[in-house]
Amino acid sequence: MKITTGLVARKTIKWAVLFFLAIITLGPFFWMVSTSFKPSDESIAFPPTFLPEDPVGFKNYYTVLTDVPFFRFYYNSLVQAITATVGALFTSSLAGYIFAKFWFKGQNILFMFILSTLMVPLFVIIIPIFLMIRWMNLVDSLWALIIPGLASAFGIFLMRQFMKSIPFDFLDAGRIDGCGEFGIFARIIVPLSRPAFSALGIFHFMIQWDSFIWPLVVIENINKRTLPLGLALFTQQFGTQDYNLIMAAAVLAVLPVIVVFLFAQRSFIEGITLTGIKG
């Protein structure tokens, strides 16, 4: 009798804590969405209204989308992130395959060299790369955003680890069937490495999609801004009091990622875990 009441009490507390934590985590999202549907005066009313009492529908969203080239930001972000991710997947899988399945002189040195570049933080090389991009006349172009993301040392490492477990028999079978070296890579290795591709793909895409300091340095033109940059500099366009507009812009920026995440959350988290535990 005593034991069961204790158990029930413990369970209730556990659920209460869980509920509390969920509110802390989701509250800011709720508040962002709620504010984005309020008219200006209600958004700064005190005491604040939890749900918009006088909702303006999608008017704030309309203002944001028409006053700022927001679709342009989406487009730029997508082009940047997709191109860089496809490029990085290709280069990482090719190099990873070579480091996993071939032996040649100096291989270890080359591989260690690639790994050692992981230690170099962006802020150390950002000025020389900026000068390089400026010298190539690529400032204010999407190429400036894409090119540095076309290869990934971590991606090569991940691919190599994964491809090491593919038996050599598969490669030999391909060779006997008269497959060229690239054909073996494209037709045998790549299909067998699906999990590594999706993990690295998500990881690299998120890094590119969220990159901020590099676009901030290299992009001036409003029409070349990516989503994070456009959103960051958006606040300059409106007074700081227009939180309803700022929140509408924030919703527009985070919504696509959240929708994709909700549908593919398992591969997201598994990918992050797989790529996270690299130490």
Binding site: P47, L94, P228
Partner: protein, 298 residues
Amino acid sequence: MPGSTGAALKQKQKLFVFISLTPIMIFFFMFFVYPVIYAIVISLHKWPLLAREKPFVGFKNYAWAFNDDVFWISLKNTIYYAVFFVSSVTILGLALAMFVNSFREPIKSINRMIFFLPVITSMVAVALMFVWLYQPMFGLLNYILGFIGLGPFKWIYSPQEVLPSIILMSVWKYVGYTMVLFLAGLTTIPHMYYEAARIDGAKSIRVFLNITLPLLVPTILFVLVTNTISAFQVFTQVFMMTRGGPGTASRVLVLHMYDTGFRYFEMGKASALAFILFSMILIITILQVRYFRESFEY
């Protein structure tokens, strides 16, 4: 022996390796080796972006950095941020992982998803959300805290509260990430250890201290090292919320470097700052790894 092809690669395979690897190696030289060397060279010159004259000045840029008060303030703020951010995100992440782990499957996955939501949300958007939540007059947080008799706080508008406020937001955003790493670490602990402990009648605190914690050491090391490295590079939050203000109360090193390089266009000074920060990060990382190796020898 690696490879059924033996030590000697056939001509065709050699060609394949050469053609595939060369462009990739050139890329890494172009975007890592060359920039690092170039950055060292720049840091030894007075290098205003727009002027033609770029005279060699030796270590003057480094001397400037160390003689500048703003540098020391930025360093202090960066360390403050790193210490409190890393410790909170590690401890809370572990606690959250164990809490989530104590639920059964559908609820466990839903929780994991909820706490991971801030991780995948863009930092710029999160910063804007929190600027609004922290708003001293109309903000939601002061309103809610008012009910339990706290505040009103000035949050990011007060020199004393600004760093804790930025840390609080960063912890909110990233605790789900460390939680997921700890959850993965927890699944590697064999279940029979816990059963053995239960049969021996061990209390849950002892189980935690003697089984869970020691077996999580690799995960803890990973979480500490990676989070410390990224904490020393904190930029976006500060840039978005305060630009280092009020005054210099939230100025951090990468922001200091960014302003020096890309607002005042002093590339030489900015590069010197970059190398100072880089060497600090290297030293701290080595110390952390060493400490863990020596104390836990796993």
